[in-house]
């Protein structure tokens, strides 16, 4: 993976709280077998409204999405992150995030930056006022900078290191194989184990006729 140190891009404000992953991408579009190809399904229902911010031609190419509170709440579908990324977003700024969404975001190099509500509101105001308003998110210094504004943010240490150094998450953990094997030897003997079995037919099914 390429190291990810910082991103600079134009911002677009989406002034809605509790934006859930079903809005970001409805379930019916989560049937692909790939991690890409989701750009057309991002906010697909909301985009039917011509007033929806993402439809504003002056905002085309914006890569920093400014949300509100509890962004990405709901389902664990990573498709929500893939859709945002496929559309061209590299950063989402919000006053809080759904926990699973934030985790998924960092795993895909989409920076989920949490800042206080007033700060997010000011960024949204500035973005609304000026389509050229640019935001820089610096993962190394854990700082967001924009036209004289400067705000520090917190980020999970492991997620940050992996991105800054361009490391493969799984490879890092596999490096601890010995520790994992040690742990496995000390597990309770009664813990359940599975083995593949042949299917057992459901038998006589009375399907609903109505």
């Amino acid at each position: 993976m390429e190291p990810l140190i910082q991103h600079t891009g134009r911002a677009i404000a989406l002034r809605r709280g509790d934006v859930d992953t079903d809005q970001i991408i409805p379930a019916e579009f989560c049937k692909r077998l790939t991690k890409s190809g989701y750009e057309d399904t991002l906010f697909v229902t909301w985009r039917e409204d011509p007033e929806f911010p993402l439809n504003d031609p002056r905002r085309a190419g914006a890569s920093v999405l400014i949300g509100a509170h509890n962004f990405g709440t709901g389902s664990s579908r990573e498709h929500a992150v893939w859709a945002l990324r496929d559309w061209g977003f590299a950063v989402v700024v919000a006053s809080s995030f759904g926990d699973i969404f934030r985790r998924n975001a960092f795993k895909n190099g989409l920076l989920a930056v949490e800042l206080p509500e007033e700060v997010v509101a000011e960024l949204a105001d500035r973005a609304d006022a000026d389509p050229a308003f640019e935001i820089t998110v610096d993962l190394d210094s854990r700082e967001l900078r924009a036209d004289g504004l400067r705000h520090g943010f917190e980020v999970d240490r492991r997620a940050r290191r992996l991105l800054l150094e361009g490391l493969d998450d799984i490879a890092v953990t596999l490096g601890k194989d010995g520790l994992i094997a040690d742990y496995e030897r000390a597990r309770h003997s009664w813990l359940p184990r599975l083995a593949p079995t042949d299917p057992i037919p459901s038998g006589n099914l009375r399907l609903a006729a109505n």
């Binding site: 409805p26 077998l33 229902t45 809080s96 795993k107 994992i180 597990r187 299917p199």
Partner: protein
Amino acid sequence: MTPAPRTLIEKVWQRHVVQAEPGEPDLLYIDLHLIHEASSPQAFDGLRLAGRKVRRPDLTLALEDHNVPTNSLIIADPMGKAQVETLRRNCADSGIELFQFGDRRQGIVHVVGPELGYVQPGMSVICGDSHTATHGAFGALAFGVGTSDVEHVLATQTLALARPRTMAVEFTGELPADVGAKDLILALIARIGANGANGHIIEYRGPAIERISMEGRMTMCNMSIEAGARAGLIAPDATTYAYLEGRPAAPRGAEWDAAVTYWESLVSDEGAAFDRTVTIDVTTLSPFVTWGTNPGQAVPLREEVPELDSFTDPVARAAAERALDYMDLVPGTRMDSIEIDTVFIGSCTNGRIEDLRAAAAVLDGRTVADGVTMLIVPGSMEVRRQAEEEGLHEVFLASGAQWRLSGCSMCLGMNADRLVGVKRCASTSNRNYEGRQGAQARTHLVSPAVAAATAIAGRLTAPGSLS
């Protein structure tokens, strides 16, 4: 020196730490990995691309649930079919046990895992599905994760997780007869908000919880995610052991005794500190229902759609305004006057045998109102079998409801069971988001008993007020 008192959450967490480094997330071992067709294809692809193998197929169980139809054994949708076929191939290649669509053991992943005894107290469980918290009902730590984490667990059987904060939710007082697990959890989310438990793991406790069945506990833990929590759990007790004993994957004989001895230590110690405590007196609760488009927007069924002025927080007010517009509701409307055209009983929240019994008790001898479509979808084929053995399906069919095969069905609008056009649905599932059940669907979350009464009356109704 006596050890410091610990919460149940800390005990189970510490038991699974493979490695802890200061300032870093802990590396946790995962005892059970549940997978399904919708969130796993890209994870297996990732493994293949990197030349990696599934580390512990024997700790992995696969189910087909999200995409499957519930009125036929044929998956007509080509993309859904491709996901299912991909899962079958991946499981065959990796030696993973898979309960296929059409298998007697098939069902929703969060219903089947517990029902076969694969989920036990003190375990760590993950699944690429946000409602994995369901398994917390057994005193297990159960997390929903995305596809990247699914791949990580397939490859390493571990997950690096920062230790979340802990939250105790105490249910005190006498539980009224018409109030069930679904009402308790909806009341909690209405109180603390849809992100009220953000960054926390919840332990549900108190005398009211002790009296709730395993099915009800699963309903409650299931919706922890709707409160924004990473997980939710309940200390194991006699109810837990009685449920588990004799299930296919539960330990037997001397191993059972050893397990119970260990499980009995899985309680929060006297004096253990939580980061936050919320207390809810259940004595005055009544059946709950949602009016808005997030699960926190809920009120007692006998109350009204809230006035916008009742929201002091401008953000909550704006959200309420938007929700009312989507739901096409006017403040001041009595909830129990709202007419519905669809009723869905099912999902990993309320698709268990107890839920079907509750619905049948209300439907018995009554008829679904004209113009109302009612779907009853068992959470697993085993639940279906059991319901038929008890004759519940006769009650359902006689009332005019549809009796279906098992799957996620109308919980999420991914398979064929989807609301088309502007519809209003009383649903026992867990999410009332815009478009969740279909592009223009309006969802009211309710308990199975309320769903059944609603089907009969044609409007949101508590069972107690049926004639």
